[in-house]
Structures are given as C-alpha cells and as structure tokens.
Amino acid sequence: MSSAELVKHHEEPEEFGGYFVINGNERLIRYLILPRRNHVIALIRPSFSNRGPSYTQHAVQIRCVRPDQTSVTNTLHYLANGSAMLRFTWRKQEYVIPIMLILKALVDASDKEIFEGVIMQDYENTFLTDRVELLLRSFKMYTMHTGSQCLEYLGDKFRVVLGLPEDWTNDAIGMWLVDKLVLVHLKSARDKFRMLLFMLRKLYSLVSGSCSADNPDSPQHQEVLLPGSLYGIIIKERMEEILNAIRTTINIDVRNGANVDFNDKKYFAKVISRVNFDIGAKLSNFLATGNLVSPTGLDLQQASGFTIVAEKLNWQRYISHFRCIHRGAFFAELKTTTVRKLLPEAWDGRKNLCVQLDGAVIGWARPAVAVQLARNLRIWKTEDMNNVPLDLEIGFVPESEGGQYPGLFLFSTKARMMRPVKYIPNSRDDQVGSFEQVYMDIACTPEEIEENVSTHVEHDPTNFMSILANMTPFSDFNQSPRNIYQCQMGKQTMGTPSTAIQHRTDNKLYRLQTGQTPIVRPGLHNKYAMDSFPNGTNAVVAVISYTGYDMEDAMILNKSAHERGFAYGTIYKSQIIDLKDVRGASKSSTPTLHFGIGSDIRLNGENAHHCKEFVDRDGLPFTGARISPGDPIAAYIDDTTGRTKFIKYKGDEVGYVDQVRLLGTDAGDAELQKIHITIRIPRPPVIGDKFSSRHGQKGVCSQKWPAVDMPFSESGIQPDVIINPHAFPSRMTIGMLVESMAGKAGAMHGLAQEAAPFRFTEEDTAIDYFGKQLLAAGYNYYGNEPMYSGITGQEFAADIYFGVVYYQRLRHMVLDKFQVRTTGPVDPVTRQPVKGRKRAGGIRFGEMERDALIAHGTSFLLQDRLMNCSDYSTAWVCRTCGSLISLGYEDVSLGETISASTASQGQRSLQPTGPGGEYCRICRAAAQEQDERERQAVATGQHLQQQQGGPPQADINVAISSQHVLGSRGLKGGDLDVVAIPYVFRYLCAELASMGIAVSLEVR
C-alpha cells in the first residue's frame, strides 16, 4: 500500500510491518545469535573433561544446517587415548559414538584411507601420526572391519532410541542415523567422510597447539537466526508431530485389531480427524508467549523469549526492536564478562590449505594458489561475473603460528551478517561478512587507505553504528559510555510514538505535545525521517551554577518557558469496560446488563445526579469530559434489579476522555457489551521530572524559576534550562558543548546543522567551524556570553557558556513514582503498614536504617518509627506468669462470676479478676489445679508433695520496662497489667505458643 492508502486505513504512513498483532500488541520474533553454520570451530572447554573418563577439554564443533534451516550440532571430542568421539543430540538426549565407527560406516573406508586422509602427506608430524595410529588401534577392540558391519552395529544400538519402523533392518537404521544426524548439511557420504577427516585434522591440530581455539563469542563464528527461518522450523516440526501422531493412531488401530484399510478414504479421514491438526494455534501460542514447545529443542539454547512486544514508547524505541540482535537468554545469566568483550571483528583483515564451500571440502590448494583464488573470486563477485554472487563470503585464513586454523572458507548461505563496503581495486560495492573481515584491511575513510594494504574502504565511517547511535550529534567528541547511555535514554524518551495515535488502542502511550525537530542533527536524521517523530525540544541552555538548585545533576527550568509549553507531555491510557465481566452479568447468551442510564437516575432539576457531567444517556462517557478518580465513566442498567449502576474511573489522576470505542462482535449483530475508553492525562513538566540531552546527560528538574529571576544575556535571552558546569569535567561529553555552539549558531543563522560524527579533524576542528559562525552572528567565538543575574541585575563574575541544546523529556515522572503515607492500610496479620506504592503503602524502615538511628542515639525517633507509627498496640500481660496471650474475661457487668469447678465443696466461689473482669487463664488454671491437689491431699490424708504448682516455667523470658506499662495492677488482685507492645510481638508469642514455646514477660 502507498502512504496515502495506509493513512486511509488508519495506519502509519511509513508502516513497514514485520510484526504480528496479538491481543492488540505488536509482537515480533527476535533475531538471535547462533553459531555460524557449516563451519568447524575449535573449542577448549574445561567442562568437556567432565563428560567421562579419558575425555579432554579439546573438541571441534560444527553446526550443520539442512536446506530447510533446521540444524544439528555435531561435536568431535578428543580423548586422552588419542581417539575421538562424535557427539550429537537426539530428542534432547546426548549420544556419543566413536568417530571410527562413523568413518567406516560412511564410505567403508580402510584404515589406510583414513590414515592418509588425516595425515595428508605430513608424515614428519609425529604427533599427528601417533594420534591417528592410536585412533586406528583403539578401534580394533570393536572387531568390525567393513562398513556394513559398522552400520549394523549402529542400527542395533540405536533401534530403540530412534523409534523407527520395526521391520527396518539394522543396516537401514544405521544408514538413517548417519544420514539424519551426522553432518546433515552434506548429502553424499563421501563429502561427509572428507569433512570428518578435516574435523579430525583440525582437532589434532588444536590438541598439538599448532592452531588456536576459536572464540564462539566472536561474531566471526556467529550468524543470525532469522524470524522466517525459525517460523519455518517450527512449522516443520509441528508437521512432523502430526505425521507421527497419525502413524501412532494407525499403529494403535492395528494393535487393537480395528478395521485398518489403507485403500479406504473414509478410514484416513477418520484417522486424521482424531489427530490434532491445529498448527495455527500452536504458532499463535508461540508468537503470543515466545515459548518454544518442542520435543527436540530445535538445536537452540533457549526455550523461551523468542518473541517480544515492540513497545511504541517513542519511535526510537520502536525501531530499535526491529534492528536489535539478541545474544540469547543464557547470555544474560552468564557470570563471566569475557563474552561481553568488544572484539575487533565486531567492527565492521602452510602447506596445502583446505578449500571449503558451505562446510563441504571442495579441494586443497597451496597457499599462493588459495590467495589467488580468493582474489579472483572477490573480483568476480564484485563485478558479477561467472555467476559468483555478491553475498559470497570469501574467508581466507592465512597460515600462522598457533593462530586460527588456516584455509579458504567460502560461505554462500543465508543468515550471515554482512555489510556493504567499497572494494578499492575496482571501486565496486562489495559485501563483507563477519568471518572474512577479520583478515581484511578495510579503511574507515578514504584518507586512511594505505597503499597495497587496504583492500576495501567504508562507504561511510558511521556505518558501524546503529540508528540510535547515529542519532547522537557529535558522538565522536563524547566519552564512549555516554553515547551508550544516550542510546538507552533515547529509548526512554517521551516523544512521538506514532502519527496515528488516534487510531491506536495501546494500554499506555506517552506523547510529547510540543516536540521540535533538532537544530543540530546528523544527516541520517533526515534519511530515517525522524522528523515525523519529534523526540524533544530545542532548549536554550546556560551552563552555570545558579541558586544552587542545579547541584548534583539537577536542572532548573524556566517557569515561563514551561508556561509557554516547554516539554509539555500527555499520557494516553486505556480502560476496557466489558459488561460480561461485570458482577451480575448473566452467563447466558442474552445479556442482562445494558449500557444506558435508567429512569431511576434523575438527570434534571436540582438534585440531578452528578453523573450527568460525565455520562450520556446511552451510558457512555462524553468525549472531552474531565474525569477525576472515582468519577463515573460508564453506566449500565441491570435487567434483574432494574437499577442503574456506574463504572468508576480507576486511575489516580485527573484526565480527559479522549475517545470511546464501541467494541462489537465480528458479525456486528450483537448488542453492545464492550467499550474501550482512551483517557488522556496531561503531564506538564513538574519538579522531579527527568530530562536529558542527547549525550547521556540526564537530570531531574529541581526548581522552576520565573523568567524575571532567571539570568539573562545582554540581548535579553533567558535560558530555558540551567545545568551545572560540574556535569562536564568527569563525564567528558564534549559533544554536548559542541552541540550547544552549533545549536546557537544554527538558530542565529537559520541553519539545520549537520552533526554526524567523524566530519571534523584535528586541523579542521568543529570549534573553529561553529566558532566562526558565532562570530558572524556577533557572539563570542567560543559560545560564551556575559550574563546578568535576574535577581540583582548584576553582571556575573564569569562569562557563561550559553547555547541551544536539544533536550529530551524522559518518561520517568514523579507523578508515577511518588510514594507518601501518613496512615493507611495495614497488614491484617502483623498490623504493620503494607508495602507497595499501588496499595498506598509505606517504604520499609529496615535494619540498616534502624542501625543508623541507634548509632545516632535518637532513641525516641526510633521508637516513634518502629512502634508508635507502625504497629503500636496495647495488651494485657499477666504479672505472675508473664504471658501475653492468656487473657480471659468474665462478664462483670452482668454480675456473673464463675464459680470454682469444685463449687460443690463451696470453699471458694469467687475467682480473682481485674476491674473489667479480666483474668489470666493460665494462672487461674494453675491455681485451680493446685487447689484440687490440696483438696485431694486433704481428702486422702497424704502430704502435699513438694511439686510446685504456680505458673509453668516459660522458655523465653523478655523483660519489659515500666514505662511501657500503661495500666496499674488490678484492684481485685487480677494481677494483669496493660503494656504497650508492637502487635507483631503478640503475634510472635501466639505463633510460638502454637509450637509449644511459652514466652514470658517480666514486668518491672
């Protein structure tokens, strides 16, 4: 569709697609880093030696990819006894086979053939000959001599695992195994054999130290998993599953003796109907969750996180989702940081060498011949001759002492990372891959070309940077981490997410209402049409310490600039109201709830319901209505009660109803039950909001001074933003200073300043270029100006750096973050304040804070925080037994008293209680027990044993000082006191009691 058509369909005019819309979100499949296909890499991993006895840390690995993009990884482990084991994975289970078994099975190779194939005339290399001899000898124990013997052996061992038809011979199963799991990128057995010999050679070379291990974290050995490939792979596997399921169903039928007739169409229809055919559901589940449900694991290192939501926070964030390459979920969990090293190859230079094309050995050549071959291929591919494609990667690895294994490796398959450069000999475009460029000399700029060294030159020195990095003006003047910070912050900016905001239904959208195009911008700004999505405002910035409110990265805003609309933003939020989900909705197909206001609500006259300001008679909100938290935004009538009910606005900010969407059914024949309301929340900048320039210089607005109090220049210009000069020395963001000069000169002369990096040199400096422009505009060459205090009118003792810088407003705003609480909800169990901003909770006063107060000696404050303002409670404690939880009450008010259990004896009828009738149940029970015992002693005439009754001994004793005792000793000898304690302590006592541990409070 053309842009005009797209706009007509309520889409972005520059919509490029590439995503799936799932539940209203734009989800996309991420690019993922994978090992380079069909290329043997040498690995040294200490963990390999833990695989079993005689395993060593040496191995070579190859990820083989079939034409349908499915892959199998084969690893060749070196054993301490000189032989090698081939490892592969089948249905997430690993298997190892002696390499000799495979070599023989492939081509029925004789020992001599193998020996010669590995040694390749290099008989002097005794290390190599010894190993190969050991390899060959070690296989003698298997007593297998022919290929078919090996195949049969393999088939026999793997028959159960592979689950192939039972009537297949061992031979066939062996063939199948070798075909489907060993070097699957190659078709013929001879090719596989040759490649295995090469792998063996590389392995022995790695072990001997004549070649180094390859770095799997280097882009040289990586490629990209493309969304389309992954999608295809998943479809293939689902299909396989279905076919397997059909086979299983038929198998079951056969076993059960059902009528299996392969000539009957009906039978097949029946079988198919019993098999779950829904590939679409599986794929939509994959897209919606990003989780890979697979029996084989697809030779991938992760099972989840394949898809992400493309957030439309602003255009920069959105577009970066489509351009980023994920390193894999395992990467994020890695503890080592070596993999994060920036390698030179990530930047965009013997005897007979092996020549390989896409992982197949196509021949051997002497080094000089190989060099010539590489050069010829390079010329052919750039000049489009002899059918050599432009994207052929010609990786010539020269011989070296202990370096990377040499050879000429050609790659022509997809999913490789390539970039365009210029080939110097014929000035043609060339595509360079990440494997070959390590051995190439590519000049960054035409000036850097060295005679007879450089073969290529970059089209543009900024080509190595991402879109976001390219948007930073003068990034070559900045300290590199600051440029990275800007790439992060550019994605958090409150900018323009979309030009079709009115047609979008996102849950939350941030929008800058007063966006501007930057005066200072790199050329790519125009190329990527960033002007359609303004991301900030050109602010007049003074670098000065003024009033102290700009300390520590704070910044002062000009209140008058703010009042004129500086950095004014809006948030769009959505609320969906579905009457089906409302309580009281009927489950049947005919709805009992209807949008509307019933006659029970008075809409006219003096006592009109306040809802009439927000909700129309149809029950839907007025667009443009100003709504506060708790205001009704929709009304519905319940058929069963006949009453009108309201749905309230849930947000905690004042907003405006922007749009109301009526969501019907696909057929459009059902009654309206669901609406979608977009609420517009204005967010003018307030103190505490975050801003940043494009140089990783973020700051929080700390004060808004009125224009009269702001400093001013001689021409009467007052800054919009004041930042502190201390923001610069340690961060070294010289780019921001240059931008300030360039912006000032651009504003004076009406220029959009070109700000791409690497345009200036030591001889032709940016300072000079913009300084001259400033001079021409009547300013100081370096961008300084004498300024005056707005408060006193006195000229400042120093001149002030004053210019125009593009400022971004970041989405982190205090209104979303502030957390205040005086009193509020408490936890029902502990009666302590709850946590969490959403629940109006408090911020934890933790152990370390407690330590600080103790160390500071502010004990009253400590008690205030930890007790009085937290879970202060009063409790009865028994003086005798010290128990907190033994309170009992007698209802004195009714004049009742409980007689002693042995009331019949009439000795004691009254028990001691407090004034309110309270008593300690433990002590009373103990007293009664003692009483009883005494009575029995009297009755039986025995002496009372020296067994003390009294209160039972507690396990834990806690002393409580008198100042916490609130009530005095009970008058009637109830022995109970009221003490102030934290409620959790009482809870703790109860919990401990449930475990049989008594806590005793000693009241002094």
């Binding site: 008058s560 609309g565 009125p706 009467g716 005056y788 000229e795």
Partner: protein, 393 residues
C-alpha cells in the same frame, strides 16, 4: 551636581513594538527593578477560560486552550480599562472584568485550513451580570481585547491549529486581566535586553579568552556610548554602574511606550506601598506620609522631564508636569488608607481588602478602580488612577 544625580532617559529608537533607551544616573538595583517590573508586573489581558463547543481537530482541547492563551490581545490602558476578576463584584464574569472572544471555523475544502488568531472575534456580553457600574469600558480603545494585528494585513496571524475537510473548531473564550507573575501569557514583553558597562571597566565580570580577550570578545553596539578605556587607565574600585542600555521588545499587547511608562508607575506604586508599610502606625495619619511621597516625587519628576525633552513625546511631558502633584495626591491617599493598611501590614493580612477599599474610594478624586481593595497576595494591586492621565496611548 544636580544634573549628575538626576536620572536621565534617552530614547535611542522607538519602533512599533520595541523601544531602545538609555537610563542614566540610577542605581543598578533600580534599573533591574524596572526591567523586572516591565517583564512581570504589568497587567494585560489574555484568554484564560476556554469553553469548547466543538473540537474535531487533531489537537486535544487543553493543548488548543493553551495555545489560545498565549495569543497576545490588545491591552492598551489595561489597568484602567478592565478589572481583575477577583476584584469585581460580579459572580461569573462581566464586561467590566473580562472580554469574550469566539472562534468558529469549519473546513469544507479539500485543502488544509489554517485556524489563526484572525478567526478570533470579540463578542459583546449578552447576559451581563455586572452588578455595579464603572467607567472602565469607556476607557477602552476600540480594539481592546482583539488579537494583536488582527486588522493589520502586514502582521501575519498566529496559527492555532490546522483542520482538514470535515473538521471543526468552535470555542468560546474569556479573556481576563492578569500579570506575568501568575502566568507568562500575561507578560507584555517578549524580551528585555539590558546591559551596562560594555567595556567591563567595573570588572564585574571577567572574560575568558584563549589568547587575547580584546580580539576574541566582540564589543556590543552600546560601547559607542562610552569612552574606550585606555590600557593604562587605573581601576576605579569605587565606581558603580550608572548607565544602562535597555531594549524593550513587546508582544504587541501593550505599546513599548506604555510598557516603559507603566513599568515606572508600577514601580512607584510598589515603593509607595513599601514606604507606607514601613511607616509606624502613629505617623500614618500625620503629614509624614505626604513628606515621604514628596521625597519620592523628585526622582520621577526629573525622569519625566527627560522624557519630555524628547520632542516626539510631547504628550508625556504633560504627564511629567503633573507628576509631583500626582505624588502628593498619592501620598495623601496612602495616608488616608494607611490607618487600615498599616495594621494589615503588621498583623492580619485579611483586614486589608475590606477596610482598605472604602477610604481609598472616598478620598481619591477620580479613583474608582478599587485597586486598594485588592485581596491579591502581593497587596499592591492596581496603580493609582491619577497617574494615567496625559499619556493614554
């Protein structure tokens, strides 16, 4: 000596929306106060309330309302011609304290229509609920409250928003009087350029330079007014700045002359109120107030003479002649209301509005503005009406 100490104002250039003048023989503090007052304390009218009847444009209501508020409206003689809404006796706004504007544009063409400030029309009050009467309306100019430059084809109109076919914007606006301290939209100035000591003889500042300060720093045009210092000139550490170069640029709501004159008047009023507040209570109703006023009367008199010296500004000279007398009256008036006023300064601020209003109105000859009755936070709302005579622009 008298010439040395008497303030001098010399107008260098007067354009439609800017005035460039030199102010001499005043303190730095005074010069800066003038600057601040001109920027932040002069009342103008600006759209303050917007009622949306229809808005089908792409811009949200509050955003359009904000843009409407920033449109400068003609506010000539604003302190007399309109009241603050808070001082008005009406309940919901009346013709004395507000101006109604309406904008109703819809697009029926295939081309984009630009809604501009030219579409804003002043509409008369229909249901005016004004309780009392006043002569404010009589003091208005014909185009009072209109967007600046509406009938002038040489002034490009201000864009409010763009609408396409089928879209409509219909708003009813209420413009009110206010000052820039409240919101920047009420500021009559777009920029006030201010400079003194272009050669840095006072060494208030130090110029940073790479090699040579003189070649690297451009000297401003104002340096032509001053003697180029010799290299061997000794530094006079007692010197104080006394020559200030102003360039006041307005947004058109007030003329540059009016901005400067009203700025000075406003400053006087502020100082008068300050003096009044500083006076002990027992002196307040004596002749001391008049003396105080007289003392302050000197400076404006000299100043006005300077203005009067300019041949073009004959009308202002008349004002200058009146000024000592004015101040006398002003002082007396201050004294009269001082009894009530000073207690307000010292103690409860609330008594100021109610009790202060009536003596002011009864004493001052032509005072009907009720400016003293200001319940506003700063306590000095409005300027004495007498001062406006003679230079109504």
């Amino acid at each position: 000596m008298a010439e040395d100490t008497a303030p001098i104002v010399r107008i260098r250039e007067l354009k439609k929306d800017s005035v460039n003048f030199v102010l001499e023989n005043v303190d730095l503090a005074f010069a800066n106060s003038v600057r601040r007052v001109m920027m932040a304390d002069l009342p103008t009218v600006a759209i303050d309330l917007v009622e949306f009847v229809t808005n089908t444009s792409v811009l949200p209501d509050e955003y359009i309302a904000h843009r409407l508020g920033l449109i400068p409206l003609v506010s000539t003689n604003c302190d007399e011609a309109i009241r603050y809404t808070r001082d008005c006796t009406c309940m919901r706004g009346c013709s004395f304290c507000s101006v109604k504007l309406e904008l109703h544009v819809s697009c029926s063409d295939d081309t984009t229509l630009e809604v501009t400030s030219n579409h804003l029309d002043v509409v008369p009050y229909v249901d005016d609920d004004a309780v009392d009467t006043g002569d404010e309306i009589a003091k208005r100019t014909a185009n009072f409250g209109h967007p600046v430059g509406k009938s002038d084809p040489s002034v490009p109109p201000i864009l409010i928003c763009k609408i396409r076919k089928g879209q409509e914007l219909h708003v009813k606006c209420t413009a009110k009087k206010g000052i820039a301290k409240e919101h920047a939209k009420w500021s009559p100035c777009s920029a006030v350029s201010f400079e003194y000591d272009p050669y840095n003889k006072l060494r208030h500042t130090s110029y940073w330079f790479e090699r040579d300060s003189k070649t690297e720093w451009p000297v401003s045009d104002n340096s032509k007014e001053e003697e180029t210092p010799r290299d061997d000139e000794p530094f006079d550490f007692n010197a104080k700045p006394n020559k200030f170069y102003f360039d006041v640029e307005t947004d058109g709501s007030l003329g540059p002359q009016e901005v400067v004159m009203k700025g000075l008047a406003e400053l006087q009023t502020k100082l008068a109120n300050l003096l009044l507040g500083l006076k002990p209570t027992d002196e307040a109703d004596g002749g001391g107030a008049g003396g105080g006023g007289g003392a302050w009367g000197d400076a404006p008199a000299a100043q006005d003479n300077a203005w009067g010296g300019n041949a073009n500004q004959g009308g202002w000279g008349g004002g200058g002649a009146n000024s000592p007398a004015r101040w006398g009256a002003g002082g007396a008036r201050s004294a009269a209301s001082g009894g009530a006023g000073s207690s307000a300064w010292s103690g409860s601020g609330s008594s100021w509005g109610g009790s202060g209003a009536s003596p002011a109105n009864s004493n001052a000859a032509a005072a009907t503005t009720g400016g003293w009755g200001a319940g506003n936070s700063s306590g000095w709302g409005g300027s004495p009406s007498q001062q406006t005579q003679g230079w109504n622009v």
